[in-house]
Amino acid sequence: MSTLTAPTEAPPAAPGRPVYRVSGRRVLTSEWAKLWSLRSTWITLGLGLLFLVAFGLIASSRYKSGIGSGHMDRDFARSTAVSLSLFGTNFAQLALGVLGVLVTAGEYSTGMIRSTLAAVPRRLPVLWSKAAVFGVVALVIGTLGVFVAFLFGSRIVSGTPAAMDFSHAGVVRSLLGAGLYLGLVGVIGTALGSLLRSVAGGISVLVATLMLVPGLVSLLPSSWQDDISPYLPSNAGESMFALTHDATSLSPGAGLLVFLGWTALALAGAAYRLLRSDV
């Protein structure tokens, strides 16, 4: 070990002692190892993937049987192969978001955070690493899930008005958008967990933001609604993977920008609290 000592990097340690050093890449590796060494990670990621694929296939089958029997649920009337395959996104975002909260808030509830921050007392590398590691994992799981769901879902509905395949305009963009959305939900989960330092608090705020706020906004006067509604995290996120957009929703690019803005805001809040408060 000591033969690796570069003259400019000689630590104040006694000769013969190994040279250790914290680096951003090493913190990333550590967070990667931490994520996979917990059983809850495997279970929750498995659930997320299952939700995506199973609900996508169930929705496609229901559509197909609806068409076959001649009487169609109103909800399904305007469906496409893409929207049917993405039916599970709503549930998968909960699984991935909650796991994101657990990745950070779980360290506070168990006390692990003291070991973590004693090893990396500059603190911020821990937040960036957790967000990056889990964001990438959620992105991969999400993208894999929606592509598998579409691959089989599109076969189920082939020959119906909803039929589409990968060559159809916007399909691949839409599926990639959904994967990216799920990855960013994971990042928002880690940020909320770190910001609130509580598993229950993090999950509550996550669910409220993604599911309750859109409902509450509908109580506002409609002129306000049109101004506010497209920019809400859930609606901006949805426009990232919607196949079409109209006057009341953002374009996929704008939706991505707005959703990235919300993610950055959550991360900034988390970073501020991490640096400012004792643990």
């Binding site: 104040p12 250790y20 007392p121």
Partner: protein
């Protein structure tokens, strides 16, 4: 080397640590003593940067803890509160910490062996007994081969074998030239391992001393003498470092700085008759109680004299 300068921590209007000044030097075991709630754990958390001081500062080897390139190599800390994820195995816990510093896998195996965790290393840490958890915490503290080892109440929950293991470990770490800083609320435990003592109460420094000085200041090992001719015995015993007290007209003297054996020899040499000659040892526990009695945060409902007496006998 740990240096605290006017270190202060307030939580709202409660002052947990109040202007502490102390230095912990390498090569010896320094005990950090104080009653419950004296601010020991808060001080230790500030040393490793988990809590930020309200004012003042504390440095490790000349720098703030967070400024070091390899913090785990500077200070290895066992904190009082649990600092592990119960769902992770001991091995994976240590491995994750090691990865942040580029500490090789071999070192992880070494500290697992050193802490006697070999047989349970792959089990979930949540299933560990208190003693096993404590051993895992100590393994984590030693992971980076640190210059300074800081342990908060390390013997909590350990069986007698574990307590002995800790004592030997602390002594050998100090012999290596490392700085060893150990907190406890038990004087009797500290007296066995520590050379230097930093005693706090209600967040304030009460004493920064050695075990020997503490005993001496608290009255030391006093020899009680009753003699036929106290005035002559005083003259005979007089010398540097010797202190003789006694009421005028009384046959009894209290002598410090000379052993009972020497007093007997000198008295015989000068032909002074002695009626009584006995050594009275002040226990460290008593010295500690005297120092901290005004600073005890939570008094029990009974007076402490019974326990003091029993401790004195065992000391």
């Amino acid at each position: 080397m740990i240096e605290a300068r006017q270190l202060t921590k307030r939580y709202g209007d409660k002052t947990a640590v109040d202007g502490l000044d102390f230095t912990v030097k390498p090569g010896t075991v320094t005990g950090f003593l104080g009653p419950n709630g004296a601010g020991k754990s808060t001080t230790m958390r500030m040393i490793v940067g988990l809590d930020a001081p309200t004012s003042g500062s504390v440095t490790v080897n000349g720098h703030h803890y967070a400024r070091h390139r390899a913090p785990l190599q500077e200070v290895g800390a066992l904190l009082e509160a649990k600092s592990i994820h119960p769902g992770r195995s001991a091995y994976n816990h240590l491995r994750a910490l090691a990865l942040t510093h580029g500490i090789p896998r071999r070192r992880v195996d070494d500290v697992i062996e050193l802490a006697g965790l070999g047989s349970v290393a792959k089990k979930r840490a949540g299933a560990f007994s208190l003693g096993m958890g404590q051993r895992l915490g100590i393994a984590a503290a030693l992971l980076g081969d640190p210059q300074t080892v800081m342990l908060d109440e390390p013997v909590n929950g350990l069986d007698p074998e574990g307590v002995l293991w800790i004592r030997n470990l602390l002594t050998s770490l100090a012999e290596d030239g490392r700085t060893v800083f150990v907190s406890s609320h038990l004087m009797s435990e500290m007296a066995l391992v520590a050379d230097h003592l930093i005693i706090v109460g209600r967040g304030r420094l009460l004493a920064d001393t050695t075990v020997r000085d503490l005993v001496r200041e608290a009255g030391g090992d006093t020899v009680h003498v009753a003699t036929e001719d106290p005035a002559r015995l005083r003259d005979v015993l007089a010398g540097p470092g010797v202190d003789v007290t006694g009421r005028i007209g009384s046959e009894e003297l209290q002598v410090t700085g000379v052993s009972a054996r020497e007093i007997g020899l000198k008295a015989a040499e000068h032909g002074i008759a002695l009626f009584e000659l006995s050594t009275r040892q002040v226990s460290l526990e008593q010295a500690f109680m005297d120092l901290t009695k005004d600073a005890v945060e939570y008094h029990g409902s009974t007076t402490g004299s019974d326990t003091v007496d029993s401790l004195e006998q065992t000391a």
